[in-house]
């Protein structure tokens, strides 16, 4: 492990409490356990916002501060996931300070590599905090015995924290660690057994006020969470929907528009809301970023330098679906409104004298007027 100053700036760190971690995966697990955990039922959610909504909906309590956070970092408005979402000024300040403290920080970072091996039964952190995912929960619980001192295969992994938009969570550790960059290509969906059912019916429970801004999305910039919550279509020809967030918001449609940089895999997520492509669902869960992230293999099978790009998971099928879903309009009659159509039903026909008389009167008046104009009548 190099002890260069540079090294520390490439370490990931937690926005809420400033602790540092070897890699983002562990950072995420830390955040979930310390900052995004429900204090009532201990369920780990995927973001602070998600946790707040869970507490509100399930336990009917309002949470106003992020637990275990430093005083200036307690705001619940900021969307953080791993290293995503950190405001640029905070980010800069952190690294500015890092430079000075480098030596001491590095020392701290040299953690004894203990039995970590067993700890990360691949499952762990990857447990996508999906409330409805019964399969996930146990995993989440089990694996979480990390502390920040988890040693992780270094070097090959030291991915500049900011530059990857994707995290991938692999439930099983069979994937070799991916190269630092360029994973954009890897679809993530642990196809194996993660099949959290995400039927639309459960979505109401998942629906979270769309404050959640899944950081893992393509358009994400570490900077301000300024993305509109609901898929916004500029009336002035804003280009395509930029936020594939439709996933989290129940009733919003899937952003059929193609994702910006990322590939088709994003569409997969978009599809998330439906139960269609089973595998995906789980991941595009509300509040969950997570889409194409790569696991920083910290599991037992992955000690050691990266082997190369992980095998592409076969969900390409859905990933390459055309961007637009077929759209079915419940009311497609442009010529008439629902009320007009309803009014034409027999049971609503107005048969009273008054209206009939008035329409007859109107007809007579009209004829008189026309005749007048034609000059046939004296008055």
């Amino acid at each position: 492990m190099g002890k260069k100053k540079k090294r520390t700036s490439s370490k990931v760190w937690c926005y809420y409490c400033d602790r540092e971690f070897e890699d983002e995966k562990i950072l995420v697990q830390h955040q979930k356990a310390k900052h995004f955990k429900c204090h009532v039922c201990h369920k780990k959610l995927s973001t602070a916002g998600g946790m707040i909504i869970h507490v509100l909906q399930v336990h009917k309590e309002s949470v106003t501060k992020v637990p275990n956070a430093k005083p200036s970092r307690e705001s619940t408005d900021i969307e953080i996931y791993g290293m995503q979402g950190i405001p640029p000024d905070v980010l800069a300040a952190h690294y500015g300070e890092e430079e000075d403290d480098a030596p001491s920080k590095v020392a701290k970072v040299d953690i004894p590599s203990t039995s970590l091996g067993g700890v990360v039964p691949g499952s762990s952190g990857i447990g996508y905090p999906q409330p409805t995912l019964s399969t996930m929960q146990p995993m989440g619980g089990v694996g979480y015995s990390y502390n920040s001192a988890v040693p992780v295969p270094p070097a090959a992994w030291a991915v500049p924290p900011r530059s990857h938009p994707w995290y991938q969570q692999y439930p099983a550790v069979s994937f070799p660690p991916p190269p630092p960059l360029g994973y954009a290509q890897q679809p993530l969906f642990p196809v194996q057994n993660m099949r959290p059912p995400l039927p639309s019916t459960t979505s109401p429970a998942l629906q979270q006020p769309s404050q959640i801004n899944p950081p893992g999305l393509p358009i994400f910039n570490p900077a301000p969470v300024s993305q509109p919550l609901f898929p916004v279509v500029g009336s002035n020809n804003m280009a395509t929907q930029s936020s594939p967030f439709s996933a989290p918001t129940l009733s919003t449609s899937i952003l059929s528009s193609s994702p910006t940089e990322v590939k088709g895999s994003i569409d997969a997520h978009s599809g998330a809301n439906t139960s269609v492509t089973g595998n995906y669902q789980a991941l595009s869960i509300p509040g969950g970023p997570l889409i194409n992230s790569h696991s920083y293999a910290s599991g037992p099978n992955t000690g050691g330098p990266s082997i190369g790009p992980p095998p592409v998971i076969a969900n390409k099928a859905t990933a390459t679906e055309p961007a637009t879903n077929e759209v079915y309009l419940v009311w497609d009659d442009e010529a008439m409104s629902m009320e007009e159509r309803r009014m034409s039903l027999m049971k609503y026909q107005v048969h009273d004298e008054t209206s009939q008389m008035s329409s007859i009167d109107a007809a007579i008046d009209k004829r008189i007027l026309e005749s007048r104009l034609a000059g046939r009548m004296a008055f």
Binding site: D77, P224, S226, V233, G271
Partner: protein, 341 residues
């Protein structure tokens, strides 16, 4: 009264109308709720007490209603009449008529006039203080490009949405011609239009699961703020099911708004921050109308099938009045925390 599904949140009003609910409105003076229905009645409820206080029967389905003050109101009926309703005496009289069903009615406190829009392609303004009889009460008739579908008032401005996606903006002080003639930004039939309580613009919803947020000020700067968003859609089996957004209601205090669609959901949105704040649990059937009480603490939801799929068996039409929690409607502006000095 409640169906087999888990009860939708909110208290269900007793003695609901026997057919679909076309609109419901809270009074500006109390928690009285005026409800117009396809069963030809207009009913007045005391929402807090859950009691029916009055009922008026018309010659045809009543498509809209509004309060004048706490003791009287107006109704718009498919029998072409515009009626004035006096609650205390349970009396009503006909203020005037259109040549086709009257679709919307609004009372303007600013102008002291009643405005009605009809499928006869006209807007009419009435002076309700006059004795009844069209010649005494009708102030003016203003032709519209098409059948009027929705209208909304704020201050001195009136927004009229018609078939064919036309939108006319009027200044009530000068009705001779519209202040602005616009076209809806949405590509599909307009369903509902509602002005922002702060008077800067209006929200317009369509049958295609979309709401457009528009501004009156035609300057570049203001027009740059306008946007539209998709909502009330469901994705299943590889296709998107897109529901009409039937109702929009603004919270009187926070300026956030709720939308109700044929999907049975009510969503609350923060238009300024472009976020959805809350989604209430699904109601038994389509949401036909929404109204916030004058203090914003209650939300009346008309869960009433709107015939978007024709005449078919449906859940009973019901009105739910729910207490609104601040967290569901209060905007949460984005905060960028500063790093410690």
């Amino acid at each position: 009264m409640t169906s087999v599904q888990p009860p939708a949140p909110g208290r269900e009003l007793s003695n609901p109308p026997s057919d679909g609910i076309s609109n419901l409105r809270f009074s500006n003076h109390s928690d009285h709720l005026l409800v117009s229905s396809w069963d030809k009645s207009v009913r007045l409820y005391d929402a807090s007490a859950n009691a029916l206080r009055g009922e008026f029967l018309h010659g045809g389905p009543v498509l809209d209603c509004c309060f004048h003050d706490d003791s009287s109101g107006f109704s718009a009926s498919a029998d072409h009449t515009v009626r004035r309703l006096v609650f205390s005496y349970n009396k009503e009289d006909i203020l005037g008529r259109h040549d086709a069903p009257v679709r919307c009615v609004e009372y303007s406190y600013a102008a002291g006039q009643l405005i009605t829009g009809s499928w006869d392609k006209t807007l009419k303004c009435w002076d309700p203080r006059g004795a009844s009889g069209q010649d005494r009460t009708l102030v003016g008739t203003y032709p519209q490009p098409e059948r009027v579908y929705s209208l909304s008032l704020v201050g001195n401005r009136l927004v009229v949405a018609t078939a064919g996606r036309h939108v006319n903006v009027y200044d009530l002080r000068n009705m001779s011609q519209p202040e602005q003639r616009r076209e809806s930004s949405l590509k599909y039939q307009t369903r509902c239009v509602r002005c922002y309580p702060n008077g800067t613009g209006y929200a317009l919803s369509s049958v295609e699961g979309r709401v457009a947020m528009e501004f009156f000020d035609l300057s570049e700067a203001s027009q740059a703020k306008k946007y539209a968003f998709k909502c009330h859609r469901k994705s299943e089996a590889g296709r998107d099911i897109v529901y009409p957004v039937n109702a929009i209601a603004f919270h009187p205090v926070y300026g956030t708004f709720a939308t109700g669609g044929c999907d049975g959901f009510v969503n609350v949105w923060d238009g300024n921050n472009k976020k959805r704040l809350y989604q209430y649990s699904k109601y038994p059937t389509s949401i036909a109308a929404l109204s916030f009480s004058r203090d914003g603490r209650l939300l009346a939801v008309a869960s009433s099938y709107t015939y978007e799929e024709g005449d078919k068996a449906h859940e009973p039409d019901a009105i739910y009045v729910r207490s609104v929690n601040e967290i569901e409607v209060k905007p949460k502006p984005k905060v960028y925390p500063n790093p410690p000095a």
